[in-house]
């Protein structure tokens, strides 16, 4: 277009309207997308002849513990919401970290499984010293997830193996490896191991008391630390800068002296570490015994959606993890109020689809810029 060459933006374009401000803000768009998702959910519930107020009553109970139908209050529901959100936030961070460094980590599920499995072993065989035992299990899960991720990063950096394919494949390897290893434990049967010793559990007496016996546990601190770590590394460190630079342009990064192989491997390791920790928190926070997995828990896969909606930022992922956690733990409460369980999947699915609106809004913004430039910047909206 000729207008592209007509010069720099005219003063008129600086008059940023509400729409422009809105388009410029990823947070606002995410919010709109979530509202749109719920709007569609509401219409859908009406269409199948149920009462959407029941959905909102279930969401209210999840967020506040207040049961508007029965007029009772129980803080346990808040605790269970946070408990359900923890692995989702961590898996969102896992996906998000890789995405920020130009990698597509579909393997959070496998890294989660490896973390979970390592934690189960440490829980059963680690030193039974209170305080140390679960800390070791966390460390083991972190390392297991990180190694499972680093393997993919190294394959990609060294041999240009597509990380998408490698991570998908390794999910199944992790799943069956976990089943095989866990069944080697003496006295394990086809679906569980013996109970863990008390010292391995992430139980937190204070949280339990505050939330009326929910399974909310010490993992909450881990999640908080991870969110801070994510923000700090990505935004504030040389390492984060190198990782992101490699993601933007590998060759340019190499030319400017960044060790690309190390960079990609480190990215995937950190990404996998987050997912590994999610596995530990579920294994030692929500269960008192090791599981021989009978299917995937899907936290890793759901983490992809969490990161997308959270725009791969630390705060955004935290919020969107809480959103998806809310949907997951509201689901049984909705079913109890005769709202079909599929509604929550449809809402989360739509939210992910609508996120593509972000790109659409950017196109609108560019088009408006162009139009204003064409008119010579004289015309108001």
């Amino acid at each position: 277009m000729a207008s592209d060459t007509t010069g720099k933006p005219q003063p008129a374009t600086l008059r940023v309207g509400a729409l422009d401000a809105f388009i410029a803000s990823d947070g606002a768009i995410s919010l709109l997308v979530v509202l749109l998702g719920f709007l569609c959910g509401t219409v859908l519930i009406l269409a199948v002849g149920r009462n959407p107020a029941n959905m909102y009553a279930a969401l209210l109970q999840t967020l506040t513990g207040f049961d508007i139908t029965r007029g009772t209050w129980n803080a346990r529901y808040i605790g269970e919401w946070l408990t359900a959100s923890m692995p989702l936030i961590l898996c969102g961070l896992s996906m998000g970290f890789a995405a920020r460094t130009g990698l597509f980590n579909i393997g959070a599920e496998g890294q989660y499984v490896m973390g979970l499995t390592a934690a189960q072993f440490v829980a059963l065989y680690g030193p039974r010293i209170s305080g140390l035992h679960w800390a070791l299990a966390l460390l083991a899960g972190l390392v297991a997830g990180a190694l499972w991720g680093a393997l993919v990063g190294w394959l990609k950096a060294r041999y240009s193996v597509s990380e998408v394919v490698a991570t998908i494949m390794l999910n199944y390897v992790a799943y069956f490896l976990s089943r095989f290893l866990t069944q080697l434990i003496p006295a394990a049967n086809t679906y569980r191991t013996p109970a863990y010793p008390e010292t391995a559990l992430l139980k937190n007496a204070l949280f339990e008391r505050l939330t009326n016996g929910s399974r909310l546990n010490t993992g909450l601190f881990v999640v908080a630390l991870c969110v801070l770590f994510y923000w700090f590394v990505i935004e504030r460190t040389k390492l984060g800068y190198e990782l992101r630079a490699t993601g933007f342009n590998k060759e340019a990064a190499r030319c400017s002296g960044i060790k690309v192989t190390r960079s990609i491997t480190a990215s995937m390791a950190i990404s996998g570490g987050f997912a590994g920790l999610a596995g530990v928190i579920v294994a030692l926070g929500s269960f008192g015994y090791g599981r021989v997995l009978g299917g995937l828990d899907n936290y890793g896969f759901n983490g992809i959606a969490v990161a997308l909606v959270g725009n791969s930022t630390a705060g955004g992922t935290l919020l969107s993890g809480l959103l998806f956690g809310m949907l997951a733990s509201a689901q049984p409460l909705m079913q109890s109020r005769q709202i079909p369980k599929e509604v929550t999947w449809i809402i989360s699915g739509l939210v992910v689809v609508f996120i593509s609106l972000r790109a659409g809004f950017r196109m609108i913004a560019e088009w408006r810029q162009k139009r204003i430039a064409e008119k010579g910047g004289t015309r108001d909206e």
Binding site: A18, L19, L32, L35, L36, F38, L39, T42, V43, L46, N51, P52, A53, N54, Y56, A57, I68, T69, R70, T72, N74, R76, Y77, E80, A84, R179, N189, T190, Y191, R192, G213, S214, R215, V282, S286, F287, G288, Y289, R291, G294, G295, D297, N298, A328, S329, Q331, P332, L333, Q335, S336, R337, Q338, K341, I364
Partner: protein, 369 residues
């Protein structure tokens, strides 16, 4: 653009506001019948098998049917757990909501129930397929699956004999190996061997209750290698066997699938009145739901272990498929009578079955809990 977004949002708000006034449904007693909540694993009540049967029992108790679930949300309802870590919260939630009875199906619930039942001593629970969570408020119901499986084994072997199949082979597909599924497998094989002592047996465990594609691939493989009938006791996974049998039968191959838990005749229909499901081992989980609900209704609920066998009509076989023929049905019914009278004794564990003459020694069945 701005205006249309606003319009859309205001419609949404109006909708939400208009619906807020109506009172929400709650499980209030509409009669003197008890209220019940069914909790299921991720496969839900549409598994056409185990959970479906428990649900049907509840429907029948209240005089409803699958098509007409009028009292759902008033007297009874169901909550499906998406992941295993939702078992405990779902149990606690149902206990908070004060149902007269809470029903859970399957051994995967045992640990969660054992934990929650202690925290809600006044809440009544019933669990199917488990007999190792003794709590003063839990009724445990188990089945003599080996007896029902024996009957479908007899039926399949008789059909192979009637069709004049030379050297027939029989397959078994299990979900996750455990003592309950072992009862299905060893009962089935004992039934086959009672008619065809030389018959070859193959078995496979999918290690998953919800992966029909695994069963379908295995079934195709086996049918191609001359397996005549496959019995699946694998929840939703078993639907893959039926799908493959349907495909082959509609192409004119003489192979069969055997259904489990519910009568799966309808799932195997591939042409007018023709089904690839020869018979189904009926495990009447509905009997368990009804038994527990009756007990609650009559204030006779006890923390007992109930065993539903052939005699109490807890297990049986389906004679719905016309291709089974009156002759075979009569012979299977004769075997059934003998089991009831105790003349035929079907053993439930692999360890005992291994000691029987000619019983396969290299199965993947497990007696380990």
């Amino acid at each position: 653009m701005k205006r249309s977004v606003l319009a859309l949002l205001s419609i949404g708000l109006a909708l939400a506001a208009s619906s807020c006034g109506k009172p929400a449904a709650k499980p209030a007693e509409t009669s003197n019948l008890p209220t019940v909540r069914l909790l299921t694993d991720a496969t839900g009540i549409d598994d056409k098998s185990f959970n479906a049967a428990a649900w049907r029992g509840i429907l029948e108790f209240y005089g409803d049917s699958w098509e007409n679930q009028a009292k759902k949300g008033k007297s009874y309802d169901v909550v499906t757990a998406q992941t295993q870590d939702m078992y405990v919260p779902n149990l606690k939630q149902a206990s908070d909501e004060k149902y007269d009875l809470i029903v859970v199906t399957g051994f995967t619930w045992a640990d969660a129930l054992n934990e929650v039942a202690k925290q809600y001593p006044n809440q009544k629970y019933m669990i199917v397929d488990v007999d190792w969570v003794p709590n003063p408020n839990v009724m445990q119901v188990t089945f003599s699956e080996h007896e029902g499986s024996y009957l479908v084994g007899v039926a399949a072997a008789l059909k192979a004999k009637a069709d004049g199949i030379k050297d027939p082979k029989f397959g078994f597909i299990g979900g996750i190996p455990d003592p309950v599924i072992t009862k299905f497998e060893v009962g089935y094989i004992q039934g086959i061997k009672s008619i065809l002592p030389e018959a070859k047996i193959v078995d496979y465990y999918a290690n998953d209750w919800g992966k029909p594609e695994l069963a379908k691939a295995q079934a195709k493989n086996w049918y191609d290698s001359g397996v005549y009938a496959i019995f699946s006791a694998a929840g939703g996974t078993g639907n893959g066997t039926i799908a493959q049998a349907k495909e082959y039968r509609s192409q004119g191959k003489n192979v069969w699938a055997i259904g489990v838990d519910s009568d799966q005749f309808a799932d195997g229909v591939y042409a007018e009145g023709k089904s690839a499901v020869l018979t189904s081992m009926l495990k009447r989980v509905e009997t368990a739901s009804k038994y527990a609900l009756e007990a609650v209704k009559n204030k006779a609920f006890k923390a007992e272990v109930v065993v539903l066998d052939t005699k109490s009509e807890g297990v049986g076989f389906s004679d719905k498929n016309p291709e089974l023929g009156a002759d075979i049905v009569a012979q299977v019914n004769a075997a059934k009578d003998k089991i009831v009278k105790g003349e035929i004794k079907v053993v439930p564990t692999y360890a005992e079955a291994k000691a029987l003459p000619g019983f396969p020694q290299n199965l993947q069945a497990s007696d380990k809990q």
